[in-house]
């Protein structure tokens, strides 16, 4: 555990992840019972490492301290939800937004508007109320929702980003972008096929 930087505040970060994960599990169970399918394939969670938090604070020209890490940076606690189909992604977003006590801080649909490199995903930052030691406190969490195919693409893109001095970088970037388009096409085709099957 990275107690050194986050100190006791780590409790809040763990708590917000537990809280959202619990709500997601309710959504999954409900959907399985009433709609006969789970919109979520799997969930990954993480607390931002001390190293990358410090780096991010510096990049944003903020003083490196715990207060800024929790109030000026929104992704100290992160959850990634991976779905099978694109419409599941939007369904999960809608289900999360139905919780009145979650406040949307920021939201970005990179599926509709992919990043230049081809990155696709739905990003949403919530402020989540937590009751800790009898006091209600709000904690930020960044949730990224995407399909299996988008997740697959991102992990390779991530690998490239963190490797310096890759030979023929330009060609690789170009090819990754082409793959992103192909993957997006496949995601759509899979959804269309599933719709056809369900209609039968």
């Amino acid at each position: 555990m990275q107690t050194s930087f986050y100190k006791d505040e780590i409790i809040k970060l763990e708590a917000v992840i537990t809280e959202i994960t619990a709500r997601l599990n309710v959504i999954r169970k409900y959907e399985k019972i009433y709609n006969d399918r789970d919109p979520i394939e799997y969930i990954k969670t993480r607390i931002k490492s001390e190293e990358s938090m410090k780096e991010k604070l510096k990049r944003k020209n903020l003083e490196v301290n715990l207060e800024n890490a929790l109030s000026k940076v929104y992704d100290a606690a992160g959850i990634r939800i991976v779905c099978a189909y694109i419409d599941d992604v939007y369904a999960v977003v809608e289900k999360l937004k139905q919780y009145d006590d979650l406040i949307v801080i920021k939201e970005k649909d990179y599926i509709k508007d992919p990043k230049k490199n081809g990155y696709r995903s739905y990003h949403i930052i919530f402020s989540v109320p937590l009751s800790i030691a009898g006091i209600i406190q709000r904690v930020y969490v960044e949730i990224q929702i995407r399909t299996i195919a988008m997740d697959f693409w991102s992990s390779l893109e991530h690998e490239m980003k963190y490797k310096k001095n890759i030979k023929s970088q330009e060609i690789i970037v170009e090819e990754l972008k082409r793959c992103a388009n192909e993957i997006a096409t496949t995601d759509i085709n899979m959804m269309a096929i599933r719709n056809m099957i369900n209609k039968c």
Binding site: I86, K112, A184, T185
Partner: protein
């Protein structure tokens, strides 16, 4: 993102004139690069992909005629319209012979220039089998539909179905009719599947058109289609 705008390279050594024509083109929703001599033209042609090139014949550092020759030597097939102040028939004939597509004699009316550009880009798109439908571009040759910088792929059969729909936008065609036209009547029961694939892609691209599926199929404005 303005990637859907048509891109024009305009070359004229008279700066004021180039700028004022450039302004007119920009006002008509073209993306415009301006060059002031032939060497600049060549540099820009090598670095960018244009939908149309407008070249003044009289230019320093390689004139328009030489530029046309060079451009075609690079196997760049972009339509070229020559501008000439001189009413010399030989110039025009020679320019057209070595690869220019059209010419205009100065002074010209802006509406005529705009119309000639439209003719050239339209013919070029037809040659390349590129169609603008609503806010998206359908490229039949490369089997792609795109909006801005987002490109989605089509398989060959989807492209054939979409091509049919693009060319028959006025009528509602049944799956039998479509398959009759494109596949000699075979596989008509597969048409709804390909329509579904295309429809999902139009949705994903945020296109302002959809396939209207009431009693057959037809491309239609998004507002007229109940999904």
């Amino acid at each position: 993102m303005e990637d859907n705008k048509e891109k024009i390279l305009l070359a004229d050594d008279v700066e004021e004139l180039a700028k004022s024509i450039g302004k007119i083109l920009k006002n008509h929703n073209y993306d415009v690069d301006i060059a002031f001599d032939g060497l600049e033209v060549m540099k820009m042609v090598k670095e960018n992909k244009y939908d149309c090139i407008i070249l003044d014949i009289m230019m320093p550092n390689m004139n328009g005629i030489e530029a046309v020759k060079e451009i075609r030597n690079l196997r760049v097939n972009t339509p070229i319209i020559m501008l000439t102040a001189r009413d010399l028939v030989e110039d025009k004939v020679y320019g057209l012979d070595i690869g220019a597509n059209d010419y205009l004699t100065k002074p010209f009316e802006k509406d005529e220039l705009l119309a000639r550009i439209r003719v050239q880009t339209r013919m070029n798109n037809e040659r390349e089998e590129k169609y603008r439908i609503g806010n998206i571009i359908f490229n039949k040759k490369s089997l792609e539909i795109s909006k801005d910088s987002v490109i989605l792929n089509l398989n060959e059969k989807e492209a054939q179905v979409l091509d049919f729909l693009v060319k028959n936008q006025k009528c509602q065609a049944s799956k039998e009719e479509i398959s009759q036209k494109i596949w000699n009547g075979e596989d008509y029961e597969k048409i709804p599947l390909y329509v579904e694939f295309i429809q999902e892609k139009l949705i994903a691209l945020n296109a302002n058109i959809r396939i209207n599926e009431d009693n057959g199929y037809r491309l239609d404005n998004i507002y007229n289609v109940n999904l």
